[in-house]
Amino acid sequence: MVKRALPSRDELFELLDTVMDPEVPVLSVVELGIVRDAVATDEGITITITPTYSGCPAMREIESAVRGAVEEQGFGPVEIRTTYSPAWTTDWMSEAARQKLETYGIAPPQRTSDELVPLMRRAASVRCPYCKSTRTELKSAFGTTACKSIWVCNDCRQPFEEFKAI
């Protein structure tokens, strides 16, 4: 492996910003807030990541994609650390990332609330990513992946997914 100058934290984040989430391929693992830290020393590169959900099946693939992206640039050895604290939240998602989600056809997450609601009240209306109507209805809080819920638009009749606030 070619020895190169140590990359800065910013350079590593820039590099990892090219690694897309396997389930939401319009957002990078940096935009999603999965990458928490990146440190380069003479001993190697340490990347700290945090899972979105405890059982997210994509974590292993994300880990290997992150490792691959760093090694491809000639840096290494790469150590991936996993942290659970602070717990991942969709509140970390930037406005730009939310915009990308909506353009892709997934309604962006609402802001999280600490309120414990034992019964589902009428969920705040989510805007249809297709026709922008707010006459939408929650079909199920659990969607095709752990991070999404299923909605249907009562105007354009299109079912769509929402990135769940967590």
Binding site: S54, G55, Y84, P118, L119, M120, F142, T144, A146, K164
Partner: protein
């Protein structure tokens, strides 16, 4: 870091979620409607995910080189520490809903308290689990109301499920030397302190569902000491067979 009490405690937390997660996964492809099939699989995934993190931490705490897979696949029923409630066969949909409801409310209370654990790893796992458990509580409580306050048939099945499961709920709140030791070290929470808030929340939802909260009676116990129903062994044989037939296999 070796702490026999903490290791035992982590096994309790992990085994409750692993066994219930596996039971729920048995609904995959059999849910009453497509959305519900997906929802049950999602909840199962959360529970198995939480169990994985807890078992990993348990293995590190034990310090004998056992990882999460070794603890999940190479322990026999006698070594499992889950409550009996979670190992019972999945029953009909009402039975599964009632069990998820009882467990989710318990789990949310337990994980909320564990966010303050002096063990930073456990506190971090708990903070994640709280977010997931909130969705589980909402989902199961909604179904309890839908079934209880539904048709005569759904009401009758929901009430029967609540009545059948009630005698397995007492074990969730058993206090013993392990619970007390981890609580006094601020590592864990003594489960007995969760009983009053659990009862209040459960009765509230049951009454909204027009269901009767059973009166306190005889409570089954044994799981925390490894004395299980005959159902756990059968479940584990299915869950563990691949790992035991092909040890170390990967794909």
């Amino acid at each position: 870091m070796t702490s026999p009490a903490l290791f035992s405690y982590l096994l309790r937390l992990a085994d409750d979620r692993l066994v219930l997660g596996h039971r729920l996964s048995e609904w995959c492809g059999h849910g009453p409607i497509l959305e519900e099939d997906i929802a049950l699989a999602n909840v199962a995934l959360d529970l198995v995910g939480e169990a994985t993190l807890l078992l990993k931490l348990a293995g590190e705490t034990e310090g004998q080189g056992r990882n999460e897979d070794a603890l999940a696949y190479f322990r026999d029923a006698l070594e499992y520490r889950n409550v009996l409630l979670v190992e019972l066969p999945k029953g009909d949909f009402a039975f599964t809903v009632a069990r998820q409801f009882f467990f989710s409310i318990f789990s949310l209370l337990q994980m909320q308290a564990l966010q303050q654990s002096s063990n930073a790893e456990l506190a971090g796992i708990a903070a994640k689990a709280v977010k997931e458990a909130k969705y589980h509580v909402r989902h199961s409580a909604q179904w309890v109301v839908t079934l209880g306050d539904g048709t005569a048939e759904s009401h009758e099945r929901a009430q029967r499920a609540v009545d059948e499961l009630w005698r397995y709920t007492g074990e969730l709140f058993l206090s013993d030397a392990i619970e007390q030791e981890v609580a006094s070290a601020h590592l864990g929470v003594d489960a007995s302190t969760l009983e009053a808030p659990w009862r209040a929340q459960v009765s509230d939802i049951l009454s909204r569902a027009t269901l009767t909260t059973p009166t306190v009676g005889y409570m089954q116990r044994g799981g925390r000491d490894g004395k299980h129903t005959e159902h756990l062994g059968h479940m584990l044989s299915e869950m563990q067979i691949v790992a035991r037939s092909y040890p170390g296999a990967s794909w």
